[in-house]
């Protein structure tokens, strides 16, 4: 397969224009660390964007950075950290979940998949931090949208529209993002021994309190050991200036005293813990399992999980944990649990508990080709999605099949 590796926007335009002219499909790649996320793509050529690397501009006082899509996310993180700033949505490093080394993923890949970490509940998703884009659409045309300021309603917000589109509408050539001050300190409060539903009730109470929680996770017994705990751990993270964090931690512990005594954790152990939650570390260590990412209303998380044993032929070896206050369930199943990797049972459980979506985040290519990786959409919505795709990529040459079969 031909591999194209342009080094600037003109090169990307040339590559896409040629693909348009010759009717050749392209698989769009950053570092390829998350190539297993989405349906398998069968394309005539690969378009590797790692040659478009580097920061276009960074103005800390203006809280804005513009980067080329092939820039390693870790590099952006280090640059921002040098000025006490960060991408507030806490982007995960999912590469290791797919067997790639840590810290190789690009910012373009992260935006293409709209990936956000534990702080999503407070700071918003990757899409909420996108201010502007430059891209080449599947028509072989360079276009821009948005700008470099936070408050902007000039035209449709295509920066958001392209975030999470997995390279099926356009190829990024520059991304402009909002950055924010990094938290100065953090403390994590931990309760032990809670069952899933009780734990999520605790998380909900905390998130509805004035404590300004920036991380809310529950690690059931089956994953506790991976995080270094002996039993179920319910975690709430507070970030900010030291006197505020101390004050909020004391009051939150008092508010939730009926759940038992809270243990406080700070410093490196706390950072490592949230990084492991962010990167789904326990499941990276078990490459033989299939991994689902389930997004539901926070209180529905444990209810969806509770429905699974009755709905699946086997849940032996299944493991799960909760982030986003219970609204994000990471679920690992043995591939033999069900013929469809559990898709039907999981999606039925979500529908029965008020709706949401399930993504088959990791599975062998054969399964990902056979089972809808992303939540199937009702007719009119699926048709609208297809029309939008056709407007931006009428020949279907960009990452064909990555999101839905036959597109």
């Amino acid at each position: 397969m031909t591999a194209l590796r342009p080094t600037d926007e003109a090169g990307v335009l040339a590559a896409v224009a040629d693909a348009v002219a010759t009717g050749t499909s392209l698989e769009i790649l950053g570092a390829g660390s998350k190539r297993g996320l989405g349906r398998p793509v069968a394309a005539g050529r690969t378009l590797d964007l790692t040659g478009l690397s580097g920061v276009t501009f960074y103005e800390p006082e203006e809280l804005v950075i513009a980067v080329r899509p092939g820039t390693p996310l870790a590099e952006v993180g280090h640059l921002l950290a040098s000025r006490g700033q960060a991408l507030a949505f806490e982007p995960p490093d999912l590469g290791p979940l797919y067997g790639a080394p840590a810290d190789v993923g690009t910012i373009g890949g992260m935006i293409a998949a709209n990936l956000s970490g534990p702080r999503r509940i407070k700071a918003g998703a990757a899409r909420d931090h996108m201010l502007g884009i430059r891209a080449v659409s599947g028509r072989g045309e360079i276009f821009k949208s948005g700008g470099r300021v936070v408050k902007n309603v000039t035209g449709y917000d295509m920066s958001k529209g392209l975030t999470g589109s997995f390279g099926t509408l356009a190829v990024f050539t520059e991304l402009t993002l909002k950055v924010l001050p990094a938290p100065q300190t953090a403390t994590t409060l931990m309760w032990t021994g809670l069952a899933d539903d009780a734990a999520v009730a605790v998380l909900s109470r905390a998130l509805g309190s004035p404590a300004d929680v920036s991380g809310a996770a529950h690690l059931p017994a089956s994953v506790a050991a991976d995080f270094g705990f002996s039993g179920p751990a319910t975690l709430l993270r507070l970030e900010g200036i030291a006197p505020s964090v101390a004050d909020r931690a004391a009051r939150l512990a008092a508010l939730l005293a009926d759940a038992g005594p809270a243990e406080a954790m700070g410093g490196e152990p706390g950072l490592d813990l949230w990084r492991a939650i962010r990167d789904v570390a326990p499941f990276a260590a078990t490459p033989g399992t299939v991994v689902w990412k389930i997004s539901v209303a926070p209180t529905a998380g444990p209810k969806v999980v509770a429905r699974l044993p009755a709905a699946l032929p086997s849940t032996a070896g299944s493991r799960h944990f909760y982030d986003w206050g219970g609204g994000l369930v990471w679920l690992a199943l043995d591939p033999t649990s069900a013929d469809d990797a559990g898709a039907a049972a999981i999606r039925a459980a979500i529908a029965a508990e008020g709706g949401g979506h399930a993504t088959l985040v990791r599975a062998p290519a054969e399964l990902r080709a056979r089972i809808p990786v992303f939540e199937p959409q009702p007719g009119p919505l699926a048709a609208l999605t297809a029309r939008l795709r056709a407007q931006f990529d009428p020949l279907g040459i960009l990452n064909p099949g990555r999101m839905v079969a036959k597109d």
């Binding site: 040339a14 590559a15 000039t154 509805g208």
Partner: protein, 531 residues
């Protein structure tokens, strides 16, 4: 929801309370014709069909849901951009999603244009009717359907007011964060259409960051649901495209919003400076210190004077620039950060500095800023409110540019500025009674927006493009950029039946737009290298 074109004096309150007020006879001088070349022509034919269309719509909406009398239509002829007026062909007031779907399906089948409208507080003419179009008022969708505290969200109908959501949840210590200054009147559906902001955007985001889900009806009558009580989209981020789409993509019939816990305390600083540069540096230093205030507002000398004359709260008249910085959160944090901001302001040469010791005092600090528009309305027969956003560092340059433009056009200008997020609201003072002044004010405004774009900013921060800034879109976007925006429109409404004439400077048929000029053996881009 102060009208953008605004008659000052004693009429303010009336207009503020209800933009639908019929002001015929008081405003004819400032009136502008909205009809554009592309809108004209079809008009007379559709007018002739008014009776049959009304009859058909009455079969969908029995009772008083269809208005077609001249007097009944009059209140709808304008939104907050009151210099533009146009009575619609007729008005429909549906109450259910099924009714909205049936109306849109009928209009789609008949090729009838539809303009959706919420409370009608748009400052950019987003809900300006079309002579040959049906105006769909969503104000009968006024119920709060569910408040879900454990999941921190509320499900509401689009006609519920922005403040109405907060009122329904504040007893439990929650609120809905975006707070446009029209929040007492503007509808959440309108907020979704315009991606409304407010003074707290920097810390809490705009509408787009606070909406979790929508139910909406496409022009075909198909009903779709985007998002819900969960986070993130299951496919393309259509929610991100729809919020801020100015009523061109669909009619929203239900909104799920994120609720936040109300901050425990808020305190504010009121700081005067001898120059806008010093005030601007203070803003930059606050941000550089890692502090994101709940609100950070700046006013220039003319705005300070107008506000102080109006509300008498002790603003420093000798200051060239005034900063209001509000910090919110737990008391321990607020007290700590107030001290830091104070030190930064003093380091930058603050000439006066007050810190609120009580909530009453904090509200007094805000009183002048919140009354800035009517205050300016007192000193000028009319004013024109602009809405550009700039990188904060460009503020001195833009203010200097505005002073030059002020001389050029012979019109004064007062500035209020959401300093935290760079959103400028210059208020151009003019008198519509003087021949040529309205045009001069508009030209002055357009030049200000061009200047905003030139320094790296944008045409509109929160008021929308609407009809007002439609013809300036080329200042920011080239034809290819705009064609890609229109392709979004084509995916949702390929007949351009929903709110046509807004946002885009030129309507192009989707089929024409969609043509890819590829011929066998005849490559596009012949100048490009081949692989």
């Amino acid at each position: 929801m102060i009208p953008r074109f605004f008659r000052g004096g004693k009429n303010c309150r009336q207009i503020v309370a209800n933009s639908k007020v019929d002001e015929t006879g008081r405003r004819t001088r400032g009136r502008k014709s909205h009809v554009r070349a592309q809108d004209a022509g079809a008009g007379s034919a559709d007018h002739a069909r008014r009776a049959s269309i009304a009859a058909a719509l009455r079969r969908i909406l029995p009772g008083e849901g269809v208005l077609d009398g001249d007097i009944a239509l009059r209140p709808y002829e304008s939104d907050g951009l009151t210099a533009y007026r146009q009575p619609p062909l007729l008005v429909v007031l549906p109450e259910t999603t099924a009714e909205v779907a049936a109306i849109l399906k009928y209009c789609h089948g008949e090729g009838i244009k539809v303009v959706p409208r919420g409370a009608g507080t748009s400052l950019s003419g987003g809900a300006l009717p079309l002579a040959d179009g049906v105006l769909m008022s969503m104000m009968k969708f006024n119920r709060i359907l569910d408040v879900d505290f454990p999941n921190r969200c509320a499900v509401v109908q689009p006609g519920v007011t922005n403040l109405g959501i907060t009122r329904a949840v504040e007893h439990a210590g929650f609120y809905y964060a975006p707070d446009p200054s029209s929040q007492i009147a503007c509808s959440i559906g309108g907020n979704v259409a315009e991606n409304s902001g407010g003074v707290h955007c920097l810390k809490y985001g705009l509408t787009t960051n606070n909406v979790l889900g929508l139910e909406m009806v496409l022009m075909t009558g198909e009903v779709i649901r985007l998002g819900g009580r969960h986070l993130d989209a299951e496919g393309y981020d259509l929610l991100g495209l729809v919020v801020g789409s100015e009523g061109l993509l669909g009619v929203v019939t239900e909104v799920t919003v994120r609720l936040l816990r109300s901050p425990e305390t808020a305190r504010a600083l009121l700081v005067g400076f001898a120059s806008s540069e010093e005030a601007g540096q203070t803003v930059a230093d606050v941000v550089a210190a890692g502090i994101i205030p709940g609100g950070m507002e700046m006013m220039d000398r003319p705005a300070i004077a107008a506000a102080e004359d109006f509300v008498h709260v002790g603003y420093p008249r000798d200051a060239e620039a005034l900063l209001i910085v509000e910090l919110d959160g737990p008391p321990v944090e607020v007290d700590h950060l107030i001290g830091e901001v104070e030190a930064i302001a003093l380091r930058n040469g603050a000439t006066s500095l007050k810190i609120s010791g009580s909530d009453a005092e904090r509200m007094a600090f805000w009183a002048g800023r919140k009354a800035a528009f009517p205050a300016v309305g007192r000193i000028s027969p009319d004013y024109y409110c602009m809405d550009g956003t700039i990188p904060r560092k460009a503020l001195p340059q833009v203010l200097a540019g505005m002073r030059e433009l002020s001389v050029k056009y012979g019109l004064s200008c007062a500035n209020v500025f959401h300093a935290g997020d760079g959103n400028l609201h210059p208020l151009i003072l003019y008198d519509a009674n003087k021949p040529g002044e309205l045009q001069a004010a508009e030209d002055f405004g357009s030049d200000i927006l061009r200047l905003c774009v030139k320094v790296g900013g944008v045409l509109t921060g929160e008021h929308g493009v609407g009809v007002e800034k439609r013809d300036l879109m080329h200042e920011m976007f080239d034809d290819v950029d705009l064609a890609h925006q229109m392709r979004v429109k084509c995916a949702f409404d390929d007949g351009h039946l929903l709110n046509p004439g807004k946002v885009f400077p030129q309507l192009r048929r989707c089929a024409e737009l969609g043509r890819m000029h590829i011929h066998r053996g005849n490559l596009p881009f012949p100048e490009l290298p081949r692989f």
